[in-house]
């Protein structure tokens, strides 16, 4: 990957309409970059939960678990991408799966670049200044939502209203996926225990 590929996400978050267009039609985006942003997000979440200042860190240190943090960041990301892909395929979306991943991944960049420095700054805050911490955090979240909206809209060539509807349906689809996954998981476990029990019976009787 060339230097311009690394510079491109910063162009996207500042000029979303241009940027996502270029990403889709000029082939300037890279799935690898989206993955790098995702891993940076995981890192920023872990660092924030662990090292943000005492006044804004309400996490119980006994239950901090970096692996959990990773799971709860990476899994929802792919869950969203898969759910969005399944919905938009049915709703005449023009986006490919890779493009959805790129759009979502690039949209996450503001959270990464705001969170990491903010975590550092939060260690030097007094209680009167903590509202700024939350303000900037929500600013990053709103920025992310806006980018996600524009990204999905551009990638699928939707109207704004349609984008909102698909995003809503995506959330529903995410719920269905989770439900089916847990169902499949519990079924698999039952089958596993069934076979394991038969095996045990045989071992005891033979």
């Amino acid at each position: 990957m060339k230097l311009e590929h690394y510079k491109f996400p910063f162009h996207v978050i500042l000029h979303p309409f241009d940027g996502f267009w270029d990403m889709k039609y000029e082939g300037k985006g890279k799935v690898g970059i989206a993955m790098i942003i995702l891993s940076l997000l995981v890192l920023s979440v872990i660092v924030q939960r662990q090292f943000s200042g005492f006044l804004v860190n309400f996490n119980d240190p006994r239950y901090l678990n970096s692996l959990d943090d990773m799971q709860f960041t990476v899994l929802p990301f792919f869950l969203f991408c898969i759910a969005n892909w399944s919905i938009t395929t049915l709703m005449e979306g023009e986006g490919k799966f890779g493009e959805i991943i790129m759009a979502t991944g690039y949209a996450l960049l503001p959270i990464v670049i705001v969170n990491l420095p903010l975590t550092f700054v939060s260690r030097f805050m007094t209680m009167e200044e903590t509202p700024f911490y939350y303000l900037i955090n929500s600013f990053a979240a709103i920025w992310f939502c806006f980018l996600l909206f524009v990204g999905i809209m551009t990638v699928h060539q939707y109207t704004p209203a349609r984008t909102l509807i698909t995003l809503g349906l995506t959330v529903v689809a995410m719920g269905i996926v989770v439900f089916l996954a847990s169902l499949a998981f519990s079924m698999t476990m039952q089958i596993y225990y069934f076979i394991a029990n038969i095996y045990r019976e045989l071992i005891f009787r033979m």
């Binding site: 005492f54 006044l55 119980d60 007094t126």
Partner: protein, 484 residues
């Protein structure tokens, strides 16, 4: 006892979980995360005192007890219609079972509470006789307060005082059965003044929704939204009345009423001062604590008695739980139906109606250190309290309040950095912020010169860098122009 204390400090020093064979209960307090954290027992049962021990015959469902500052114990032996007075060594001084009322011998009828003033006048809430009887210390009748008259009392009002307390001006505060307006207040002549400390009830959203949906017939059948009655009263030396009420839906079951009847108790802890904060909602032993008695034990502290699970909770003046201990059972130190808690010097005594005895608890090294440190802190002598807090931490390094105590003292001494550490250990963000703010300002002032120098150097460097760059570019451009 010395051996016990030595054993206690040894156990704590070697950081072995402090388990005491002598304590039949586990003491605990709640930490920042609302987990019950075990403590070394702050109090250990010393002895039980029954009517037989006193030589007066068994108690019969005693309802209340009072201990004066100089250690005289007054037990209201309700079933036997008598008051037993002993000195601090449990020697019976007198038994008051009847008094002379205008030439006629008069007795009590299921009295619910008693109070003894500093001048040793005995006030008895003679519940089923519907009166408050005031006696001298020798048992002579002074006056009777009964049948209160006022426009605000409904007609046919039956006065049934249950618990009473008396302030220095001999005003009586009475908890009366069936009175939901608050405590009944009487002047020194026995005239009814009015109510103080009305408990306000608010309907929840769900209640209001139900009320809207219900038909008129249903509404009539619904229970009225009336506050609960008070369960007990006590008074501190400043004249503030402490009271508890039993209300499963409220987290403000302990109140401290100022003279105009407003609740001014401090609730600055991380969770409400209501006894247990973690309990089951359904099933066995479910529901919040039922605080049936309260005792002001000095130094801003007060102890409440949970008759439901048989536990004692002591809070400091900020409303932070210092410790909880006790339980139900048959061993010495466990209760059946505890009804009253009193302080005898540094000891605590609990009257048990079910067991018909009094259980005396003596403070351990840990308990007395906590009490002394809290008292010193309450009196503003933080520096002296620090040594005791350190002692407390040596006995129990999980004690958040001790960290706060040391932190506050360090903050007073302007040792901001150390204070920050202690506030962090005590999970107190507000004070941490104060300490941090000061510390940050300190560092800024100290390094102001260095920082300004650094900034200036950086600015100059940046400026010259850009200047050089532009100058070079101009030269290149010139050269290029020249070549053309």
């Amino acid at each position: 006892m010395l051996l016990m204390l030595a054993g206690l400090s040894l156990a704590a020093a070697t950081a072995v979980p402090a388990v005491f064979a002598a304590a039949p209960y586990e003491a605990y307090t709640y930490n920042y995360y609302r987990d019950a954290v075990p403590l070394p027992a702050p109090f250990l049962p010393e002895r039980s005192v029954s009517g037989l021990d006193l030589g007066t015959g068994d108690f019969k469902s005693p309802n209340d007890m009072f201990v004066t500052e100089d250690g005289y114990v007054y037990v209201l032996d309700s079933g036997n219609k008598r008051i037993i007075v002993t000195d601090d060594e449990w020697n019976v001084i007198r038994v008051i079972s009847a008094f002379d009322n205008a030439g006629r011998e008069d007795t009590f009828n299921n009295p619910g509470g008693l109070f003894v003033t500093e001048s040793k006048e005995i006030y008895v809430a003679d519940t089923d006789n519907g009166r408050i009887v005031v006696l001298t210390n020798e048992g002579e009748l002074i006056r009777i307060v009964s049948d209160p008259q006022s426009d605000i009392l409904p007609s046919g009002f039956k006065f049934a005082p249950v618990k009473i307390t008396v302030d220095r001006a001999n005003r009586i505060f009475a908890v009366a059965r069936g009175v939901f307006e608050g405590l009944m207040q009487f002047d020194d002549k026995g005239g009814f003044i009015g109510y103080v400390g009305t408990i306000h009830v608010t309907q929840s959203f769900a209640d209001r929704l139900w009320l809207r949906l219900a038909t008129d017939e249903q509404r009539k059948r619904m229970q009225l939204y009336i506050p609960t009655e008070f369960a007990s009263v006590d008074i501190d030396h400043k004249g503030f009345v402490y009271a508890t009420n039993i209300d499963v839906n409220s987290t403000a079951t302990i109140k401290r009423l100022n003279p105009s009847g407003q609740d001014v108790i401090k609730r600055f802890g991380y969770y409400p001062n209501m006894g247990d904060i973690r309990f089951r909602s359904f099933g066995n032993n479910a529901g919040p604590s039922r605080l049936t008695d309260i005792k002001v034990i000095g130094g801003g502290m007060y102890t409440v008695l949970d008759s439901f699970r048989g536990r004692l909770f002591t809070y400091n003046d900020e409303g932070e739980l210092l410790y909880a201990f006790g339980g139900k059972g048959t061993q010495l130190g466990l209760f059946n139906t505890p009804v009253a808690v009193e302080r005898i010097g540094s000891k605590l005594a609990v009257l048990d109606r079910g067991k018909n005895n009094i259980i005396v608890f003596r403070p351990t090294l840990f308990g007395s250190a906590v009490h002394q440190a809290t008292t010193l802190h309450y009196n503003g002598r933080d520096a002296e309290a620090v040594e005791l807090w350190k002692e407390v931490l040596r006995l129990n390094s999980n004690y958040d309040i001790a960290y706060l105590g040391i932190g506050k003292s360090l903050l007073m001494e302007k040792k901001n950095k150390e204070a920050m550490e202690y506030f962090k250990l005590g999970m107190q963000r507000k004070y941490y912020s104060v300490a941090y703010k000061r510390y940050r300002r300190e560092v800024m002032q100290e390094h102001f010169g260095t920082m300004m120098t650094l900034l200036t150097v950086l600015a100059v460097a940046l400026f010259s860098f850009r200047f050089v760059k532009r100058w070079r570019m101009r030269r290149t451009v010139n050269r290029e122009v020249g070549t053309l």
